[in-house]
């Protein structure tokens, strides 16, 4: 039971890529589509205090290793209590990945921080909550 399925690509040489790409960056073979469950562990993280245009400050970024070996970038709502190796759930809203190691209120704050109109923010919060209701056990990494 997983909260999210992360699309990826896989090569016969063993390389996996998120998001999927047509050619293996290692050996050049064509890759086939694959998917990974949306949980893993923090490889590293940072908080940007002067993020690029279009992002609100502070911007929390993490590099996450999914179970199965693929690495991906995620946004987060905060990094308090986060350490290298912390297990997190990863979910996608509007094709952007978010990591979460905390509760529902924190997740609402995460989506509220997103750039965009209030209506879109509320919509993201609701969709995230609905996903959790549908797959309550999947939220526990």
């Amino acid at each position: 039971m997983t909260v999210e399925t992360i699309p990826a690509s896989r090569c016969v040489c063993g390389r996996v890529c998120v998001p999927p790409v047509p050619f293996c960056p290692d050996c050049g073979r064509e890759m086939t589509l694959a998917a990974f469950p949306g949980h893993g562990q923090i490889l590293s993280f940072t908080t940007l205090h002067s993020p690029p245009e279009g992002f609100s400050s502070p911007l929390h970024l993490a590099l996450v290793e999914l179970q199965g070996g693929a690495h991906l970038f995620c946004h987060g709502s905060e990094t308090r209590g986060l350490r290298l190796g912390t297990r997190v759930a990863v979910e996608s809203i509007d094709a952007v990945y978010y990591f979460s190691h905390l509760g529902v209120a924190d997740r609402a704050r995460l989506f509220w921080r997103r750039a965009g109109a209030s209506r879109e923010k509320v919509s993201a919060i609701l969709r995230s909550a609905v996903k959790r209701l549908r797959h309550p056990r999947g939220t526990e990494p």
Binding site: R15, C17, V18, P19, P25, L43, S44, F45, T46, T47, L48, H49, S50, P51, P52, E53, G54, F55, L59, L61, L63, H71, L72, F73, C74, H75, T79, L84, V96
Partner: protein, 375 residues
């Protein structure tokens, strides 16, 4: 091994400069040609990471060759992001090694300070993988991810990392060509504004204008290029197995050492790419000079200071000399030339063999160049 030498060098002071980029590059180029005895090169290799966006100029090699007074000399531009200067040295080296030319002028420069910091960050950030960039990843962000993983893996403290800045500013204070010529205290570094946690402002190199040049020849000049190598890695850092070392540096070093027939323990002075302070430590480990996790201790013990057993960044490095992107790879070679020929007044070290190390992008295209004084 071909006998390819450096016959003359020149550079502008780095910093905030009012002149147009062409004028800065002409100042450096003409100084290098005069230093070599006033000769005219067979060809020119120009390096600038992004003159199209930074200063709105295209066909840049031809622009520079005309401006400096060599309009009908064959000229091309080399580019590997922030290591473009080193790529230009390589391009000149291979052209002479193949006997295509007898002498090639390398001239590199960038002009950035007239743009706002967010604009400069965005332009530099375009060398990051597009997917990672779409998450707001900037160079300081990626460097911060590397730094956090590095400190956690090896138990290196932020205080130790901050000592890189203190050392390099101390060296820059003795270099009349440096952007910053004042010393800085450990407290100033540790209390500077947070940029990308755990990296603070004074862990990051400045935005600078400047240019540097050198003349490479077949067999004439006091400094010989012993070896030069390039190493490559994924532009996407999420594809990497290892965050705490740079494969591109390791591969570049291996190629350069093999060409030169020497090893890391024969290096007597090094100019390395400290765009972010922790990169100096990671680099010294990737170069095989210190084993993984041990460079911080060597720094604290003073081994990499001007009077230490292996002076690192006697010029002040990218941190204090400044980092006009494309120019840095050549400025490192200029500093080594001055150090090896006894012309680094105020910061002179005792050395016959030197190493220059340049990082392109977030360590996607790195270069190592080895030079020696010819007895």
């Amino acid at each position: 091994m071909p006998d390819i030498r450096i016959a003359g060098v020149g550079m502008t002071r780095f910093g905030k400069r009012p002149e147009p980029l062409q004028a800065l590059m002409a100042e450096a180029a003409r100084a290098a040609l005069a230093d070599a005895g006033g000769e005219r090169p067979d060809a020119i290799v120009v390096a600038a990471m992004n003159p199209e966006e930074f200063v709105g100029e295209g066909n840049f090699a031809s622009q520079i060759s005309t401006y400096i007074g060599c309009a009908r000399t064959p000229a091309l531009r080399a580019e590997t992001a922030t290591s473009s200067g080193a790529a230009a040295v390589f391009s000149a080296y291979t052209a002479i090694a193949a006997s295509v030319y007898q002498s090639v002028l390398v001239v590199a420069g960038e002009k950035m300070t007239h743009l706002s910091t967010p604009k400069v960050s965005e332009l530099i950030g375009r060398s990051i993988d597009p997917s990672e960039r779409s998450y707001g990843a900037t160079m300081p962000a990626l460097a911060a991810l590397v730094t956090r993983a590095f400190t956690a893996k090896h138990g290196v403290s932020l205080k130790e990392i901050s000592l890189v800045t203190v050392k390099n500013h101390g060296n820059g204070a003795r270099n009349p060509f440096a952007h910053f010529q004042e010393e800085i205290s450990l407290e100033q570094v540790m209390e500077s504004r947070m940029v990308a946690d755990p990296l603070r402002l004074y862990h990051c190199c400045p935005i600078s204008d400047g240019a540097a040049a050198c003349l490479l020849t077949a067999g004439r000049g006091p400094v010989r290029i012993m070896g030069i190598g390039q190493g490559a890695d994924y532009v996407a850092i999420r594809y990497r197995d290892e965050l705490t070392s740079f494969r591109a540096t390791q591969a570049a070093a291996e190629a350069a050492y093999r060409m030169a027939g020497i090893g890391p323990h024969q290096i007597e002075v090094a100019e390395v790419h400290d765009a972010f302070a922790p990169f100096e430590l990671i680099t010294l480990e990737d170069l095989g000079i210190y084993s993984p996790g041990k460079a911080a201790r060597a720094l604290v013990q003073g081994e990499t200071q001007l009077d230490g057993s292996l002076p690192v960044n006697p010029s002040g490095g990218l941190k204090a000399r400044g980092h006009p992107l494309g120019a840095s790879g050549v400025a490192q070679v200029v500093e080594l030339y001055w150090q090896l020929t006894g012309r680094a007044e105020g910061r002179q070290v005792e050395a016959r063999v030197g190493l220059a190390h340049s990082i392109g992008g977030l360590a996607t295209s790195n270069w190592v160049t080895l030079v020696e004084r010819v007895e």
